[in-house]
Every structure is written in structure tokens, then in C-alpha cells.
């Protein structure tokens, strides 16, 4: 399945349907030094909200934490176990209603 662009667009459209409360600071912290050594970077393709991507120029991992669905897949899939994963602050983050 090589349709990454289509999938990104599909995810984006779906995320636009969602309601999010406040997002003042990132609840997902990565260690760029460790990420740089990570070959597969599963976070960049596993996340159902496409939160993680690789900066084409710097090679760093960009974290769009404000799109997070709070599932936890990235935390467990990370081969380096390096994602400092916590919940968004009290009352913040995604709000599912038709769940």
C-alpha cells in the first residue's frame, strides 16, 4: 500500500470532524537524538492521527500533538521506547461524542 498522500489527506479530513479542547503544551515528547538513530520510525506511519512526521530538511520528528486521539499506539510501537507519553492536561485533548 503506497498511498501515503491519500491516507494523509483522508486522516486530515477525519480529524477535522473532531472536537478538541485546549492544547497548551505537548503531552508527547520525543528524544530527537534517539529518533535520529531509529531506522524504521514506526511512529511516522503507525499513528492513526498522523501525529508524527519527519522533517524533510532537518530529519527531526515533528509532533503535531494537538491532533492526538490519545490511543497510545505510538508509545508501545516505539522500538526505542523513547516517547514520553502522558495524557493532555486536565480537561484537554480530544472529545469523542459518537463513540
Amino acid at each position: 500500500m503506497q498511498e501515503n498522500k491519500d491516507n494523509k489527506k483522508s486522516i486530515q479530513e477525519k480529524l477535522e470532524l473532531l472536537k478538541y479542547n485546549c492544547a497548551n503544551s505537548s503531552h508527547l515528547i520525543v528524544d530527537q537524538k534517539v529518533c535520529a538513530k531509529c531506522k524504521d520510525k514506526p511512529c511516522t506511519f503507525i499513528c492513526p492521527a498522523g501525529v508524527y512526521s519527519k522533517d524533510e530538511i532537518t530529519g527531526e520528528i515533528i509532533v503535531q500533538y494537538e491532533n492526538c486521539l490519545e490511543c497510545g499506539a505510538c508509545r508501545i510501537a516505539c522500538p526505542k521506547n523513547t516517547i514520553d507519553w502522558s495524557y493532555p492536561e486536565s480537561g484537554c485533548g480530544v472529545v469523542f461524542k459518537h463513540n
Partner: protein, 442 residues
Amino acid sequence: MDTINKADVIVVGAGPAGISAAIEVARGGKKVVLIERAQYAGSKNMYGGAVYTSALKEVFRDDFETIPYERVINSHTWAFLTDTGSFEMTYKNDDSTASYAIKRFNLEKWMIERAKEAGVYYIPNTLVTNLLLKDGVVIGVKTELEEYFASVTILADGVNSLLSRQINLRNNYEPKDIILSVKEAIKLDKKIIEERFNLKDDCKNGVNKQYFGTAFGNLKDVKNLFMMTFLYTFKDTVMLGVGANLADLTKNKLNLNQILDEVKKHPDISPLIKDGETIEYSAHLIPEGGYKKMPKLYSSGVIIAGDAAGFINSVHFEGTNFALISGKLAGESALVALENNDFSERSLSVYRKKLEKSFIMKDLYAYRNVIERLYSRSNSLSVYYPKKIRELFEIVTSANCISKGSQIRSYVSSFFKDRNISELFKDIFAFLKCGLDVFFGK
């Protein structure tokens, strides 16, 4: 110390396990504080779509009647998806009321109202960041703003349970122990849903479909993907989702949204959601490690319940029932400890004894190897048998001017020729062992 911040029991997480636990403690006449990180309980949760009524009745008793469900789910379909169609088996019982389709936002909202009536102090909008320990005993919790103290803390903080990891009650899951699930809520006219799914009697009927099989569309060439598709009818929404093993997704470099989009195009599924409007997209993890990956369920001053303890039976799509009942037993155990004024690990071991007497530990034990066995045969389940089912029904349904005898003979012999013969015996062995484990379970 502020008296508001001192309770007999603190429960972290207002899902089915936490609410059930808190209600049990409140009914026992003890002061219980239920802390939830979300603004609205239920707004962080996601499941396939149905909650089991027997567990609800056990926890909510007569109040159960007032639950604002959307449909009774009493038609169950198990299906194999092939690239051109499907093989389905449906069990329908119009009289069954065993499960209800209800959105988690509404389920938790209703449960919280019942908890408040029972006397639970409910504190939403509050994230517990740490457990408070004194000499290795959990004595309360720390939120972003305050500290709360209690004799017993019940952790019902869900599949990611960061708190139980803080005190090393559990190890991290490995990707192979986890199912990642995403779903879409697809809005359709109520009448269209009823026509499309052959539903009579208004909301007294509803459908659940579970599909195996991955060999279709763009997924055709993907090997070793342990995945299921699920569908539930709600009043004017169809829930369509997929769940797949996290290790398989990682190995195959797949994104689950991509898979869901592919499922939506399948010739047997696309007509069911035609003209529907997606109104929500959600994701969640399911802990599949079961009995073997069970955490330490209690320690001095603390008990774990629900998803946080990995209490599910994914074969039968059971989870909310495990959560509700384990929560209730956690509440009962806290009451026993309060009665004896002993909150040591030994005292709280009563929780394990209660779990062992209930279906929870019995089922977890009986199914301890089942998922692993099915997982080891995922190619057979997802690709090979859907193909063989298709071949069989092609013989049965197409009058192709070849004698049935010769076709069936060659079909049967194909099981020995298609693959290395050891594969067939591995399948038989795995499926038989699954059945025997459950049959001879406690």
C-alpha cells in the same frame, strides 16, 4: 489536611470499571472520590459499539431500565471477506436483550448520574499525575493542583494505565500484545438503516457484524495481518471499524486508517454505508495479553481493575462486562479492607480471590493461549480459509458442467496440495487446542 481531600477510597478513571467500583464503595456507606481527567466521562473512550446487559444489571440493579441505549443488538453475523464478496453466518434472536448499542459518551454520562445518586464524589476535569506513596504503601494521588488521600486507591485508568506502571505493578506491553482499533461513526437515516439491515420493531433490533479476512483490494498482498472488521447499527449511525495487531501493522508498515478506507470500499461493505456521512473518527487500544500479561492486581493500598488490568476477552468482543464486574469486585474488596482496617497487600488479596470465583479469572485462564494460537495462524485465518470458503461455494453454487464428484474430490485434495502439509496440521492443532482449552476451562 483538608477534609474534602480525604476519603476512604479514591477511584481513578470514570469508565465502566471505575464507576462500578465507586458505586460499590458508596453503597457500602464509605466516602469515595471518583477522579476523571476528561471534561465529560466517556469522551475519551471508544469501543465497537455494544455493552452487555447482564453486567449492567448486576451493577445498576433496577436503574438499569433507564439506560438510554440506541438499539438492542440481537443479530450477530460472522463473516469471511474475500476479494469479490463474502461468506456470512448469521444468528438472529429477536427476543434477545443481551447487548445494547450505546455511545460511550452517553453510557458514561448515564453511569455518572447513577454514581452521584449513590453518593459518589465525582471530580471531572482532573488529571491524576502521580500516586502518593509512604513506605511503599499507596496513600493517595496527586493531581495537577492538589493531593487526595485515601486508605485504598483503585486504578481504573484504562488500557494505558500510566499509574500502575509508576509503581511497577505492570510492565509495558509489547506491540504483539496490543490491538489498535479505529472506527468511524457514519450517519445514515434511521429508516435507511432499518431497511438496509432488515430491522423491524424500531430500536428493539440491531445488528453486529464481525468480519475476518484481509485478502481484498489493496490489502491483497499483505501477509501476516491479524485483523478484524466490525460493524454495529445504532439508531441513525453505523459504526464501522477495524482492529489489527500492532506488531503486524508495524512490520507491514501499515496505517490503520488506510486499512479502514480499504474496508469501506469492499463490495460487501460499501453498500451498507452508501450515502452515509462520517461524523466522527476515533482510535483506541485493546490489551490482548490476557492472563499471561496480567499485572500484579493489587499492592498495599492499591487495586487495579478493568482495561488497566487487561481484563478482556477479545475472541468474544467482551470488555465492558469485565470492566463493570472487576470494578464491582474491587469496590467490594476495598470495603472488606476498610472493615478490617487493614490495607496491606495481604488484606487486599481478597480481590484476587473474588476474581477467581467470578467468570473473569476463569475465562482469562481458559483463553490464556487462544489469541496467541489464532495469531500464530493469522495467515490461515485472514487469507487461506477465506479463499477456500470461496472455492467451496463456487463449486456449490455454479453449475459449470463438471461433475460434482470430481470437483469435490479435487477440492478436498487441494487442502493437502495448496500448502506444505504441515500448515494444515498446524491449523487443526491450533484450532482444536483453542476449543479444548475453553471446554475444559474452570
